[in-house]
């Protein structure tokens, strides 16, 4: 099968959905012809679809989301880009209090078919205001769906599902994934939300990992296999809300051990929720504590040695596995 990058996979999803449904339009800062998006995901789309449908905005994150909501509840299907995930903080009221709640508050009269695309994650040395992973904030807000694709295939399939969904979706991308290549079929496909995938089968221990950490977990698994003979299963939830608890729990039941890995800060983060679910629903199958590997509880520092220390790497994953196997 042909291989394309995560970035190109996202762009294909946007393009195909725009061709399929003229209600779909994009808005965000510098997503148009003059820049093509800070990470070039939307490059070329303004040229193809025009500036009305690929709409550059002022630097006004609150209004970007608010405007997208207003469009979504009146018949359009906006895909808003927030240039960096950290900046969702500026639009938090519109995301968490408006987009997530309008349908409910209004007794189901309308839906809010809105996608908010935004890149999270560190690793490119752009410090505390451009490197966070904030998925957990959105997981905590009922009414939102949260997607977190780790491969080009998933990026495309999940983004299509997100755009066709009637619910507001926070679509979490990762800066380091944009250039990553993988197999993506030519034909149309969608990936249903709430379906995890097993990236690697194993019998000794389960690693649940998300976004860029999936790749680090797979590397760690290889090393563990080779050097320690530990046979690791890697589960990638793909969407955090809805979360495919079943696949996670079945894997844990099989292996009896689990490490949960995510790039966001440890406290009250993605790993907390997944751990808590396992502790609530599968504790009897566990032969060891539930380990969490996450970013240290610090802002993301600028200097490479500091940033590398804070963000989980293969070694931390390996150490965590070895502590409980």
């Amino acid at each position: 099968m042909r291989r394309i990058s995560y970035r190109d996979a996202l762009r294909e999803a946007l393009r195909e959905e725009m061709l399929r449904d003229e209600r779909v339009f994009l808005l965000g800062e510098d997503i148009g012809r003059y820049w093509g998006g800070a990470f070039k995901v939307t490059k070329g789309l303004a040229e193809e679809f025009g500036e009305e449908r690929v709409r550059d905005t002022p630097i006004s994150e609150s209004a970007i989301i608010g405007v997208a909501i207003g469009a979504a509840i009146t018949g359009m299907r906006p895909v808003a880009e927030i240039m960096f995930g950290d900046l969702t903080a500026l639009a938090m009221d519109q995301i968490a209090n408006q987009a997530a709640k309008l349908r409910y508050m209004f007794g189901g009269q309308i839906s809010v078919p809105l996608v908010i695309r935004t890149p999270f994650g560190g690793g490119v040395n752009i410090a505390a205001h451009h490197s966070q992973s904030l998925e957990a904030w959105f997981m905590h807000v009922p009414g939102l769906h949260v997607a977190a694709p780790s491969t080009p295939y998933d990026a495309k399939g999940l983004l299509k599902t997100a755009i066709r969904s009637e619910n507001p979706v926070v679509f979490c991308e990762h800066k380091l994934l944009y250039p990553v290549e993988g197999e993506v079929p030519e034909e149309d496909y969608m990936i249903p939300f709430g379906t995890a995938t097993i990236r690697r089968e194993g019998t000794d221990i389960t690693i649940v990992a998300t976004l860029y950490m999936v790749h680090k977990a797979l590397n760690a698994a290889k090393t563990l296999e080779k050097e320690e003979g530990i046979n690791v299963e890697v589960v990638d939830p793909r969407t955090l809300v809805p979360l495919d608890k079943k696949t996670i729990i079945e894997s844990v039941k099989k292996t009896g051990r689990v490490v949960v890995v995510s790039e966001d800060c440890k406290t009250a983060g993605v790993t907390a929720e997944i751990s808590a679910i396992i502790a609530e629903e599968a504790i009897d199958y566990l032969d060891a504590p539930i380990k969490r590997v996450a970013a240290m509880d610090t802002p993301i520092p600028f200097s490479p040695p500091l940033e590398n220390f804070v963000i989980p790497d293969e070694n931390r994953i390996i150490r965590a596995v070895k502590e409980i196997v």
Binding site: A63, I65, V67, M105, F106, G107, G108, S165, E166
Partner: protein, 329 residues
Amino acid sequence: MTYSKWGSTMIDVSREKLVEMYRKMLEIRYFEEKVFELYGQNLVPGTIHLYAGQEAVAVGVCSALRKEDYITSTHRGHGHCIAKGADLKRVMAEILGRKTGYCKGKGGSMHIADFSIGMLGATAVVGAGLPIATGAALSVKLQKTSQVVACFFGDGASNQGTFHESLNMAAIWKLPILFVCENNLYAMGTSQSRVMLIENIADRAAAYGMVGTTIDGNDVLAVYQTAREAVERARKGEGPTLIECKTYRHKGHSRMDPAKYRPKEEVEEWLKKDPIKRFQDRLFEMNVLTEDEKGEIERAVIAEVEEAVKFALESPYPSPEEALEDVYA
């Protein structure tokens, strides 16, 4: 370009329309008085923010709109709903937390919506409705319908960042929207003069290259006329307008607020400018209304409000498990 102040110069409105406007204002007034009464009887859960005193704004603006046009509303939203044509029964039922309410009891007083009449709902986060209304206007533009949007908000809301961001976006994209600032001089206990140096909020329009105008918000005809012109411009693709309506709420901000922060003379002066009383006098003057007709309308409105109360009080509460519905589509 800014509008001049009309005062209440006479305009081309049919007799029926004038009476209809009058009736709507009465509906709001009696409705709110009833809500206040029910609140006193402990029948209204939570809090309430009454619209009484500001009727000319909602009715003036909504009278310039078509059914398919959109409005967005605030925590002080009963009047906007009624003016746009909502069913009093379902508004009252919502306020009382009943299953038959517009939002099945999930929204309450601060979150009423009726999408079937273009009422896109109320948000209780002050200022949060502005970008949403702006988005509805963008939607209309993209879909090339001829709808317009009227976005209601208060003087206090005009200090929120969303005001700035929304007006700017609406201006640059020439969106068909009326930003209707209901300047009732206070945001809770905070008088306008303590939180902004300018006297007229409409002057902020200039910061966005937008048309802005300040009018007497207790003169329903002035509001109507201004809104009509703004709607016309909007439908022609000439962009948004900021309309500041100076008005006054008769009651406190919410619930039992005695509103002691307002000087007695100020309250008295504004009560004299009661928009309903003024409009009524005007209609008498113009021979549009007779005492008999007035009495008839009042009786009809009172009956309608009573019916709404009866409907609401007889309606069941939602069952607890319904709380789990409508989170996702």
